[in-house]
């Protein structure tokens, strides 16, 4: 049976969970990981990994200034703003 440290994973993901969610996710994710572990049946020692199906390469364009969003447009959806900045709660 696979186990997952829900508190640790949720902390890394910056997601608050209720106690009932913690219990439920621990059970769900164990079942999912048990299923996923069937990959260990395969010997992949000599197999290269595929992170992307198309050949990724640098994409260049002419060094020309193009239009971009204005400050007002960029701030338009902000939950809180102050002048030309996003306003956030204190860090410490």
């Amino acid at each position: 049976m696979s186990t997952i440290d829900i508190n640790y994973a949720a902390k890394l993901a910056r997601i608050g969970l209720t106690d009932s969610e913690k219990g439920r996710f621990a059970k769900d994710l164990s079942t999912i990981l048990d299923y996923i572990n069937k990959l260990n049946q395969l010997d992949t020692g000599q197999v290269p990994s595929t992170s992307h199906v198309i050949k990724l390469q640098n994409v260049f364009r002419e060094d020309k200034v193009l239009d971009s969003l204005t400050t007002d447009q960029a701030l338009d959806n902000a939950p809180m703003k102050d002048g030309t900045s996003f306003k956030v709660p204190r860090v410490l």
Partner: protein, 476 residues
């Protein structure tokens, strides 16, 4: 017959003869929406007057519905999530720019599983969409709103997105055509990212000719998307009538048998026979690593999603929890803003990428992805197409799988390998169950060979006619 029941090519023919104009079609679409939307819940945003005004200005414009994870300038784009409530993008997605250039008429935004995480359109914060063929059942997911809207004649055409089958599976369950193009064929600029190496925008339509027409409108290179491929786009409507004579079709044995509903298998076997009768050469082939595809997907997709969804922290846009300090704001915004399935997948993805597990899960999955892709390469070295069922079962009941994530994940078992290999594939109607639910046939091709798909799909459709049957929608 209301004008909303027309296909796009029928509509264009009538417009050419000056029999109708777009405004009349849009009026009929909204009549249908007003009649059935409270039962189906296909849309999350509609602005009737704006659509009618646009249709007046564009007398030949084809009405299109757009999945709610595609950015539409100034119009709500929420991904079916509370965390994006109130978000109105300051720009149009690449596909929307192309639809604008084609003078399409915008009908509304369609319902979807939250952040496209799901196979049933039950995880939307706007409530589930219902299948027009039977309101007790799901429409499939995550583009269930788009598929239901087209199936119920609440749109002429629709745009969806497909990360693990999210266009093809709902198309199969709603009895319409759903095409996922080759990865890179259509711009992903402005598609709200779920799993970037798998996501692809595609089309949901009433028939195959419309799918070719709509793909013509949205395909092509976009400098704003570095994964968009700079290849000439053929006119897909020109290949439709080429027939299937001489096409070599592989039937992978791993896609039949255990876990596949008997009625689904029978319909697909009949479809294979039909295509053989029409002149295609159908032979059994093997894709030996198929059974590992769901495991690979449920590592890679949540891993990419956990990274993509890190941006929803309540700072730049969307919902923000009221907290005293920044860290609590992050935790509570995501606690309150995300639904259960999003939290489950983000945590799974974060875990798979975390120190100590990255090699065992993420790298391992990428290596098995290589094996899956090689399986397809091998078959496509000898065959033009692969035929399979689209979904192992017809539409299931609302609530039936929602509390069993693994069971839900297995709904996409036949569509996921296509995304992992970046291939194009379509689902077209190929029959009905005894209880009247649609069944889908999946046709897969090698990269950038959408033309072979269109030839085969059109020949099957024109020689069978399953696409002509309409749901008799009942009120709840």
């Amino acid at each position: 017959m209301g004008l909303n029941e027309l296909t796009a090519h029928e509509m264009l023919a009538k417009i050419k003869k000056k029999e109708i104009c777009s405004h009349e079609v849009v009026k009929d679409i909204f009549k249908q929406i007003e009649c059935f939307e409270k039962d189906i819940n296909a849309y999350v945003f509609l602005d009737k007057q704006a659509s009618l005004n646009q249709a007046k200005a564009r007398p030949a414009g084809i009405p299109v519905a757009v999945k709610d994870n595609i950015c539409t300038k100034g119009k709500p784009t929420t991904c079916g999530s509370k965390i994006l409530s109130g978000f109105r993008p300051p720009y149009n997605a690449g596909v929307i720019q192309k639809l604008e250039a084609s003078k399409a008429v915008f009908i509304g935004k369609t319902n979807m599983d939250e952040f496209a995480f799901g196979s049933s359109t039950e995880t939307s914060c706007f409530g589930p969409t219902r299948n027009p063929w039977n309101l007790k059942t799901i429409p499939g997911g995550s583009s269930g709103g788009s598929a239901a809207a087209v199936s119920a004649d609440q749109a002429i055409l629709a745009i969806g997105s497909d990360t693990g089958g999210s266009i093809r599976q709902p198309a199969a369950m709603c009895g319409v055509v759903g095409l996922k193009p080759t990865y890179g064929r259509v711009s992903r600029f402005g598609l709200i990212a779920f799993a970037s190496s798998l996501d692809q925008i595609g089309v949901i339509t009433k028939d195959v000719e419309d799918a070719a027409l709509l793909l013509n409108m949205i395909a092509g290179h976009d400098p704003c998307d570095s994964t968009s491929v700079d290849l000439a786009v053929p006119d897909y409507t020109q290949v439709l009538r080429a027939g299937v004579k001489g096409l070599k079709i592989g039937i992978p044995k791993e896609y039949f048998g255990r876990g596949i509903d008997r009625e689904v298998e029978d319909s697909v076997r009949n479809a294979i026979k039909k295509l053989s009768d029409l002149g295609a050469e159908c032979r059994e082939v093997s894709l030996p690593h198929t059974e590992f595809a769901v495991s690979v997907y449920y590592i890679l997709a949540p891993a990419e999603a956990s990274s993509n969804l890190a941006r929803y922290d309540g700072i730049q846009y969307g919902y923000r929890a009221k907290e005293e300090n920044l860290l609590d704001t992050y935790f509570d915004t995501r606690k309150q803003g995300f639904g259960r399935e999003v939290k489950r997948r983000v945590i799974l993805g974060t875990y798979a990428l975390s120190s100590g597990y990255y090699e065992a899960y993420y790298i391992k999955a990428q290596k098995v992805r290589t094996l899956l892709k090689k399986d397809f390469d091998k078959v496509f070295s000898r065959y033009d197409l692969i035929l399979t069922p689209t979904s192992p079962t017809p539409a299931f009941n609302i609530g039936e799988k929602i509390n069993d994530p693994l069971k839900m994940y297995l709904s996409d078992i036949l569509t996921i390998p296509v995304n992992l290999a970046g291939l194009p594939a379509v689902s077209i109607p190929c029959g009905f169950t005894a209880s009247g639910l649609p069944i889908g046939l999946q046709i897969i091709a090698k990269p950038f060979n959408e033309e072979a798909i269109f030839k085969c799909a059109y020949a099957f459709e024109q020689n069978t006619g399953y696409h002509l049957k309409k749901p008799e929608i009942e009120h709840k």
